[in-house]
């Protein structure tokens, strides 16, 4: 079985985001970039499926400008067999990404597609279900555990009330939650080797897909910061203030 993993390049999750002076967009110049944490988990799961003999090929795909090749190299170093770069000078939104991925699915016919449950930049959480819709595949979002037997997939999902388990047959689309696994680190020799490996490339314009963004960004703002309040010296003072000052208990 072939597993396709969608990898997005985003700002590193430890970096504090800045916005442009004219409020037109966030300012990512010189910001440290990384693989979306949920994509790391998706890739790790694919590699583990291969190690268990369930998958025989792991293909990493990323849509974006040339810089996303950095994350594709990381994917190769972490155990992906092939890397596919769908090159696009402008960023695609979730529907655009899903449409491109649907075309990649048509060409590659994977048994399983793994995506992150959300990008930590847009916080959209859309691409997985959109891809499932476009390819008429069943979907399991927010997965915290996966088991595959033959062409039957069972996924436990993290939902608001607790956990839910669904069964479906492959091919299917799964999006990963934080507790699915703990991704490994790439080893130095693998990183060195990945530098020399080929990255397959596809021009987005040649796919005949409409990826025009569906929204225009009018303005960004930094939300009003909360002011730090007071330090209380004791539990007694805390209770007193909550009762008599804030009046919340």
């Amino acid at each position: 079985m072939k597993v396709l993993v969608a990898i997005k390049r985003v700002i590193d999750h430890n970096v504090r985001v800045r916005i442009r002076e004219d409020h037109s967009d966030v300012d990512l110049t010189h910001a440290k970039m990384a693989m979306n944490p949920f994509c790391e988990i998706a890739l790790e799961e694919a590699v583990r499926l291969k190690e268990q003999g369930i998958a025989d090929e792991v293909v990493a795909v990323s849509i974006g400008d040339k810089s996303v090749q950095e994350q594709l190299r990381t994917a190769l170093a972490l155990g992906a067999d092939r890397a596919l770069h769908v090159s696009s000078d402008t960023a695609v939104d979730s529907l655009g990404a899903a449409r491109v991925l649907a075309e990649v699915v048509r060409r590659e016919t994977p048994g399983l597609v793994l995506l992150g449950k959300q990008s930590i930049d847009s916080d959209n959480s859309q691409t997985g279900p959109m891809l499932a819709a476009l390819t008429q595949m069943p979907q399991a979002t927010f997965a915290s555990s996966i088991s595959i037997e033959g062409d039957r997939l069972e996924v436990t999902r993290e939902i608001d009330g607790g956990l839910e388990t669904l069964a479906m047959s492959l091919p299917a689309v799964v999006t990963t939650d934080l507790r699915l696994n703990e991704p490994r680190y790439a080893k130095l020799p693998a990183i060195m080797k990945a530098k020399k490996r080929p990255i397959e490339s596809l021009e987005i314009d040649t796919l005949g897909i409409d990826v025009t963004p569906r929204q225009t960004l009018l303005r960004v703002e930094i939300p009003r910061e909360r002011q730090a309040g007071v330090r209380v010296d004791s539990v007694d003072e805390l209770i007193d203030r909550l009762k008599n000052e804030a009046k919340v208990i």
Binding site: I120, S125, E158, L217
Partner: protein
């Protein structure tokens, strides 16, 4: 905006309408136009009666079929798209169900989706947090049909009215793509995080699942819901549904008490809209103090039992 027609997709369980519905209706009413509500699943007609009494609702569509239980995305999205034609806006709460179903609906309709809206500027312009809430983006949708998820805590629940009419629609049935196997739901002795007036959350500082009893003890005194940081959930102190933050629940109670939580941006993303925040932490440099209205630098193993005793 008389040509605005909104369909709100409500969640229900065993005939009980989800409490988020009244808040999504607040957002819907700010769009202007007429509002219908869709309720689907076993016992949908009971929940439909509840929806009909919420202010602003013009009509309720009830589809009673167990295929829509657990909000299975494949089945529910087929139903929504079969009804979508006359509507300009499709709205659902940004719960795990809404975030599972609505992107599938959007893609089937060939439109984008706007996630986790916290303010409505006009019928096509919305405010939503990005980058774990560190930035607020104002976006204009270019689609003819707008598929939107609403963050319930950013809106107020609407009141009651005399009941609107309830009609039924044909079920699109089970698409035969997924089967529900089982669920493990938290037992509901405590208030639900989403709607709680007071929340007390614990983090890695609690050190173990047993120690989480200290949090529960205070929660019992306050009638509070219990929450947790990701670190506490990952370490297995508490189940996943208690996680507050960017990738957990978004909460905005009157009072939020964080004990043994450092205050990472991903945690703050889920609770910084609370009215009053209390932080209890032994490290006076902990970032949580920067957002706390009341900060107590203390060892939680002393402070929490004392709090429980004195409340």
């Amino acid at each position: 905006m008389s040509d605005t027609r909104i369909l709100v997709i409500a969640e229900q369980e065993k005939g009980h309408l989800s409490s988020a519905t009244a808040r999504v209706l607040d957002a819907a009413s700010q769009l202007g136009g007429s509002i219908d509500v869709l309720v689907a699943g076993s016992q949908a007609s009971e929940a439909a009666q509840q929806a009909a009494r919420l202010t602003g609702v013009s009509g309720v569509i009830s589809v009673e079929d167990s295929a829509f239980d657990h909000m299975l995305a494949e089945n529910v999205s087929a139903l929504i798209t079969s009804l979508a034609e006359p509507y300009t806006h499709l709205l659902c709460a940004s719960t795990t169900s809404g975030r599972n179903v609505m992107p599938r609906v959007a893609a089937l309709l060939g439109v984008g989706q706007i996630s986790d809206v916290i303010a409505i500027e006009s019928a096509d312009t919305f405010v939503r947090p990005i980058y774990a809430g560190s930035v607020l983006a104002t976006v204009r949708s270019l689609d003819v049909k707008k598929v939107i998820t609403i963050r319930p805590t950013a809106f107020e629940p609407v009141g009651e009215q005399s009941a609107a009419s309830v009609s039924s629609a044909d079920s699109t049935g089970d698409q035969g793509m997924v089967t529900f196997v089982e669920e493990q739901l938290a037992n509901g002795e405590r208030p639900e995080l989403g709607g709680a007036r007071v929340i007390i959350s614990g983090g890695r500082g609690l050190g173990s699942a047993e120690n989480f009893r200290l949090i529960e003890g205070v929660a019992d005194r306050l009638g509070a819901a219990v929450g947790a940081s990701r670190a506490a959930v990952d370490a297995g102190y508490v189940p996943n549904d208690l996680q507050v933050g960017q990738t957990g629940k978004m909460v905005a109670p009157e009072l939020y008490i964080a004990a043994g939580i450092s205050g990472a941006v991903q945690h703050l993303a889920g609770m910084k809209d609370s009215k009053v925040i209390v932080a209890i932490n032994s490290d006076e440099e902990a970032p949580i103090f920067q957002v706390a209205d009341y900060g107590l630098v203390a060892d939680l193993f002393q402070a929490l039992p004392e709090l429980e005793r004195k409340l």
